[in-house]
């Protein structure tokens, strides 16, 4: 087994290779505005570090969010197209699950929250690092204060809003290494992984910008 995992649902552009037992190479860069530019070079670097070519990969693991859409789609589109070109399966993993796994908490409950922008967070509650208790959701921190009161929390969304998450701590972003390890574990246990389709959780803003198509520069 050789899994290539990638996630672009948080400010981190993160890529890892996993052979079914261990992570054999990985890369994480935090730059919320350049997912599209950073991802492919990161894949290339990780493969080079492992001394492997892409066609050795037997499956793709991709974070399906929730996360800011533009960045999220970079990972999903890349994973979809790798799957098409290589003829290998593409597995989805909820990005919050990846973060929960990376947090390595054996006894919860605890909360994972990422930054959803617009003063909101994407969040879910976990019993332990492998067990999610609630569906991923998007909310204003103040509106979920009762539900998360007294619980430890991880993720940039928790760190951003200390009023709601006073005991927030690292990890801040998801890592592809954790996602790959989680996926390898679930696949080995014969579990089914979600389809690689995005968790947007919000309807698109139905606003047509004034100049909705670009005009030739003068």
């Amino acid at each position: 087994m050789l899994l290539l995992a990638l996630d672009t649902a948080t400010p981190a552009v993160t890529v890892a290779l996993h052979d079914g037992t261990d992570v054999i190479a990985s890369s994480s860069q935090v730059d919320a505005r350049r997912h599209g530019e950073l991802l492919l070079p990161a894949v290339d670097r990780v493969l080079a570090e492992a001394g492997l070519k892409l066609d050795a990969v037997t499956g793709i693991v991709v974070g399906i969010g929730p996360g800011p859409y533009t960045g999220l789609r970079v990972g999903l589109m890349t994973a979809d197209t790798f799957g098409l070109a290589l003829g290998v399966p593409v597995y989805g993993v909820c990005t919050l699950d990846g973060l929960a796994y990376a947090a390595d908490i054996e006894k919860g409950p605890f909360v994972v929250a990422t930054d959803a922008r617009r003063k909101e967070v994407y969040w879910a509650k976990y019993a332990d690092s492998r067990t999610r208790l609630t569906d991923p959701a998007v909310a204003r921190p103040a509106d979920i204060a009762d539900q998360v009161a007294g619980l430890p929390a991880v993720g940039a969304g928790a760190l951003l809003y200390p009023d709601t998450f006073p005991s927030a701590h690292e990890p801040e972003h998801v890592s592809a290494a954790a996602m790959a390890a989680l996926a390898a574990e679930r696949l080995a246990a014969g579990e089914e992984l979600p389809a690689p389709r995005p968790l947007y959780l919000r309807r698109p803003d139905a606003q047509v910008p004034k100049n909705y198509k670009v005009v030739t520069p003068k």
């Binding site: 290339d44 979809d80 139905a206 047509v208 030739t216």
Partner: protein, 361 residues
């Protein structure tokens, strides 16, 4: 023919997910999935709706194009993609797909310019572009006159709209007339039964001191909307067919007049018209008439090649391969305002020298 470059092109700059395959100047496949119906109720393209649709449509559309062309992905000589200009989020979906596809197949990647692709697509219809070529590009996003001596390296803007694109004006007027979105085809249809000289709508930027090749459709848009509102306020019925015909005439009169003038001034005997508005029947007819009178050869691709599609991107990609232009690098960005003067985005390790000299001034 078999040694001509086999290229797959991906286009996602607006609301069409296009994947085309060409061999040299021969069109092999032109698969398009459009999200236009999802935008209709908003009266314009909603970027996030378009981006979501691109992600879902991409893999099936690539599959469909390969089947249609009857070629294997392994045999491709390169992958081309629209790097800009266009909607940033929408472009990024196509660029991500193209990079992943090229990388996985071990093929070179060519990030190309959407406007140059609109010109180059004519090679699939009428063979190699004459050099130089004058091009009038008109759509919901662009209205420009471009002069190109080599579509892979030299595209010079002669003029462009200073406010709205021609297609935007069609959409706006269709909305005022309650005809729905997009406005181009429906106005064309009504105009056929109307009198183009019924109402004298203004011709923007056609005064003696106005810029010779620039366009303006904002004033026309307002004039037409006011005329309609005045009729309604007076309790009179709006003559939809005459308004459509007179408005359309004002647009295509200015477009063709300026395009023919640019050809004459530059001594260019070829005019190509591309972009979605090139499907307009009156634009085609009037351009035909005026080009013939001026001794200019008119080249207009079939309507399906004029609207946004992947074949046009593949056509320009094939030309890049044929002319040995350097490939793009893996960190190719999607550039929503990529200038028309950059027909493609070469990688950084090969510095691509283009003569800055103006060959036709």
């Amino acid at each position: 023919m078999a040694d001509e470059p086999l290229v797959l092109g991906i286009e996602t700059s607006c609301d069409e997910t296009g994947v085309g395959i060409v061999r040299g100047n021969t069109l092999l496949a032109d698969a398009v999935a459009s999200s236009v119906d999802e935008h209709a109720r908003f009266g314009g393209v909603v970027p996030e709706v378009a981006s979501r649709a691109h992600l879902e449509a991409m893999v099936p559309t690539i599959d469909r194009a390969l089947k249609e062309a009857g070629v294997s992905a392994r045999d491709l000589d390169g992958i081309a993609v629209t790097a800009g200009p266009g909607l940033a989020g929408a472009l990024l979906v196509g660029v991500s797909a193209a990079k992943a596809y090229a990388y996985a197949l071990g093929k070179p990647l060519y990030g190309v310019n959407h406007l140059a692709s609109h010109i180059c697509v004519d090679q699939l219809e009428h063979g190699a572009l004459p050099e130089p070529t004058m091009a009038l590009l008109v759509s919901g996003g662009h209205s420009s006159l471009l002069l190109s001596s080599d579509i892979t390296s030299d595209v010079r803007p002669m003029g462009a709209t200073i406010d709205d694109a021609a297609g935007e004006a069609f959409d706006k007027i269709a909305r005022v007339l309650n005809l729905g979105f997009p406005g181009g085809p429906v106005i064309d249809r009504y105009a056929r039964e109307g009198d183009p000289s019924a109402i004298a709508f203004p011709r923007g930027l056609t005064g003696p001191r106005d810029p010779a090749y620039d366009f303006s459709f904002s004033g026309l848009k307002t004039a037409v909307a006011r005329w309609i509102e005045a009729k309604r306020a007076a309790g009179e019925e709006v003559p939809v067919r005459d308004v459509a015909a007179s408005f359309q005439e004002a647009v295509v009169d200015v477009l063709t007049r300026k395009a023919v003038r640019a050809c004459k001034d530059e001594g260019v005997d070829h005019l190509m018209i591309g972009g979605g508005v090139a499907a307009n029947s009156r634009l085609r007819a009037l351009a035909d008439e005026r080009c013939e009178a001026a001794g200019i050869r008119l080249r207009v691709p079939r309507p399906k090649l004029c609207t946004d599609n992947g074949a046009m991107v593949a056509a320009l990609g094939a030309e890049m391969v044929a002319r040995n232009r350097p490939a793009s690098s893996w960190d190719l960005p999607a550039d929503s305002s990529l200038p028309v003067t950059e027909p493609h985005v070469p990688g950084h390790d090969h510095v691509h020298e283009v003569s800055k000299e103006n060959l036709y001034s």
